[in-house]
Symmetry: C2
DNA sequence: CCAAAAGTGTTGGCTGTACACCCATGT
DNA sequence: ACATGGGTGTACAGCCAACACTTTTGG
């Protein structure tokens, strides 16, 4: 017997097991654009189509472990925002169960796996055309969740380097929400939340006034 | 091969399948108390302990179908709020994957299954002592989600009969949030949301002033 | 007439939004 | 000197929280 299975008693034979896949929606912001990590499929079904990275859940592996492993495989990163998103049972034709996680990474720290087969690449979420396995819906769902979380959590910490200017932070928020934000109101709001603090360092890149750099007080998720 | 499985190519043998269970957290409000539906286990493991109702995902069955089926088995209800909550892989010792749904039902419409084995019963969430399979954590998680949803959706529609007084609605909100609410502010807020409308009927139960009855404009989830 | 629940408004504080100009730097 | 992005304050409106008494009915 297994879990809370009160009907298992009446059907004691033939445990109907399933293939369980773990999929990871890895998002990043690059130059004001929200990007998703896709891999080019090297085998059927959907050979040569793009899809989200994923793989089968191994024996004796926990779901989150598998998601961490996949994320590490593709980006070399381990200590980032990674959260379970949704579980689908109808993405492929064979009734596999697919547990989807989503991750947020700083593109400057991500080192995409160098493979010729199943090669990963960043793709702007806005013009992500037909993906394999109805993965477009999965990406949309991740995007929706990310937008919601922006309003009540500090998730952006995982999309930025340790030190960043307020303008950079604002650009990140704008890339995710798709909305331009008022500079003064944005700064007032963020500072009053007290989730970031000045580092004392200045940016001084480009031919303009150097920017004060900030860091997140906590490098883990906080719910406001 | 299955889903987005780029590593399946490198491990072409021995598909590691898993048992997939579907669990349903069925919540209701009865006399100002939030209650959860539990079943008394009739077999090991955890024989005679209480746990959430659930069962194995059948072959060729979608997750939501299975959740609907379990909910119907236990309460006879089908057209209520039912939403996926979370997927666990470490509730039991055997590494089953458990996809948890949560449902909200009107206790006056629910007809609990009449069984001697695996008998279902309502239990107040506040003093739900040790459940099998770490189901206490699952219930806590459901409660957290429900409380959050109360603030930005009309989910209470599924906990109440078609017509109800504002006092009853307030009592429902209070039972869920665990907080007393100010009557005037509550009414102002709810009415301004424009999610309910007066039916024209009066309640006239008990030895007191009859109450105006209302109904939800939509009997499905709305996000504010 | 008493108990019990229904119904009803106003005020003050806070929060969010709209809005425009000067500053420091590098070229 | 100019182009580029950095940095700053105020005023108004809408929202939320606090707060108490009268009404209607049944017993």
């Amino acid at each position: 017997m297994t879990l809370p299975s009160n009907d298992a008693a009446s059907r004691p034979s033939a445990d109907p097991e399933r293939r369980v896949a773990v999929i990871v929606v890895i998002l990043t912001v690059d130059e004001g654009q929200l990007n998703v990590l896709l891999i080019r499929r090297s085998a059927d079904p959907f050979k040569d189509a793009w899809s989200l990275p994923g793989g089968l859940l191994r024996r004796d592996e926990a779901l989150k472990q598998a998601a961490v492993r996949k994320l590490d495989d593709e980006t070399g990163l381990t200590d980032v925002f990674l959260e379970q998103l949704y579980t689908f049972s109808d993405l492929d034709a064979e009734g596999s169960v697919a547990v989807v996680y989503f991750a947020l990474v700083d593109i400057t720290e991500a080192n995409l796996a160098q493979r010729t087969a199943w090669e990963p690449a960043w793709s702007p979420v806005e013009d992500t055309s037909d993906l394999a396995f109805r993965n477009n819906e999965v990406v949309d769902y991740a995007l929706q969740r990310l937008r919601a979380k922006l309003d009540y959590s500090n998730v952006a910490y995982s999309l930025l380097p340790p030190e960043f200017s307020l303008s950079r932070l604002q650009a990140t928020y704008e890339a995710i929400s798709g909305q331009p934000l008022d500079k003064r109101n944005f700064r007032k709001r963020i500072l009053s939340l007290d989730i970031i603090e000045p580092t004392g360092h200045l940016a001084s890149e480009g031919r303009h006034r150097p920017a004060q750099l900030y860091r997140f007080r906590e490098r883990k998720q906080i719910i406001f």
